[in-house]
Symmetry: C2
Subunit: 206 residues, 2 copies
């Protein structure tokens, strides 16, 4: 990885741990293995480093748009996949979604940075909301809608069902972000949540 890119990488790590204001350009430089003034050969200012991170993120998010969402293709296709899914497979999928969010290094650091910086910048708050509320709910809602249509799931309110699926995942994720030591505990609860979700909304009742 070239220096220019390593700066972004180390800066993201530091920003996600301490927040923009508490990171000095010298800290970033040190991790990259250069001196602070050398950073300015690559970026005009500290703010420019931050901006570059945001821009890189936007690119990634566009590229990986569907990647978080199970198949990575369009939801119609996903629903086709789900038609013949077993309870165990459904649980596996929920877990994978969670573990992707939790462990993907870039995603994780970015999420923490957004959490810290979201109130500084209206734009960041919007990015956060989109990533962790609107997009998951709308994508999964669409998916669940199709699954309801095909009789795999049963409910008279897809939106609330989606909320019931996603909200615990989100909550457990925030727990793990704050205290990685609780990961195992959260994974157990996640498993129980997914089983219960399946019991409530799955074929057995529909």
């Amino acid at each position: 990885m070239d220096t220019k890119h390593r700066i972004l990488d180390e800066a993201l790590t530091l920003f996600s741990e301490k927040g923009y204001a508490n990171v000095f350009v010298g800290d970033i430089a040190e991790r990259v293995g250069i001196k602070a003034p050398s950073l300015y050969k690559h970026y005009k200012s500290k703010q420019a480093i931050f901006d570059a991170i945001i821009e890189e993120m936007n690119e990634r998010f566009v590229k990986e748009a569907g990647a978080l969402n199970i198949s990575g293709t369009d939801p119609t296709m996903d629903a086709g996949i789900y038609k013949g899914i077993s309870e165990e497979q459904m649980i596996e999928l929920g877990k994978n979604l969670f573990l992707y969010y939790l462990h993907d290094d870039y995603t994780k650091r970015f999420r923490k940075m957004l959490t810290i910086e979201q109130f500084h910048d209206k734009e960041l708050a919007e990015v956060y909301m989109k990533q962790y509320y609107d997009d998951p709910l709308s994508y999964q809602g669409m998916l669940f809608g199709l699954m309801v249509a095909s009789g795999v799931l049963s409910t008279d309110n897809v939106q609330v069902m989606t909320l019931h699926f996603y909200a615990p995942i989100y909550l457990l994720l925030t727990v793990c972000d704050r205290d990685p030591a609780r990961e195992e505990e959260c994974l157990k609860l996640l498993d129980a949540h997914l089983r219960q979700f399946d019991k409530i909304y799955g074929r057995s009742i529909g």
Copy 2:
């Protein structure tokens, strides 16, 4: 309110909006209506102001310990109350919990500040977790356990049921914190969530 206390109040407002590092003591002073150096007649340093806020919070949290939790008394008593509760009353209670968290001015500012500052300070992360995960889940879990015992609710996993009750509330709260304009939308969804929760776990099935 005396100056000393107004400083804390204004500082909390600013910290919750912009984060500790982005607030200058001059900003706080200006809001209070004095000049920056005069602050030092009341607090030794900017950090001391922050610490005083945390301490004040700890006091409030102890005092209001049960206040968030419906009756404010012990859960055994609360379960008694719930025994004869109607669906509408249950929904009302869930909404009130949500609205208290959302609108109580002190709680709200404090929550936002914790959100921003939690990664700076391990202690704050712990406070956050306790306030928004452990305490609600354990208190409500106890309550729901009693309600299950008395046949008001039905489930074979109280912990997951509690998660299903609370996680959507938490998620919707984070949405409103970030974008107050979405409050109405969130309240509608909250209402639908509570109704659905009642349908799933309420007497009708038990």
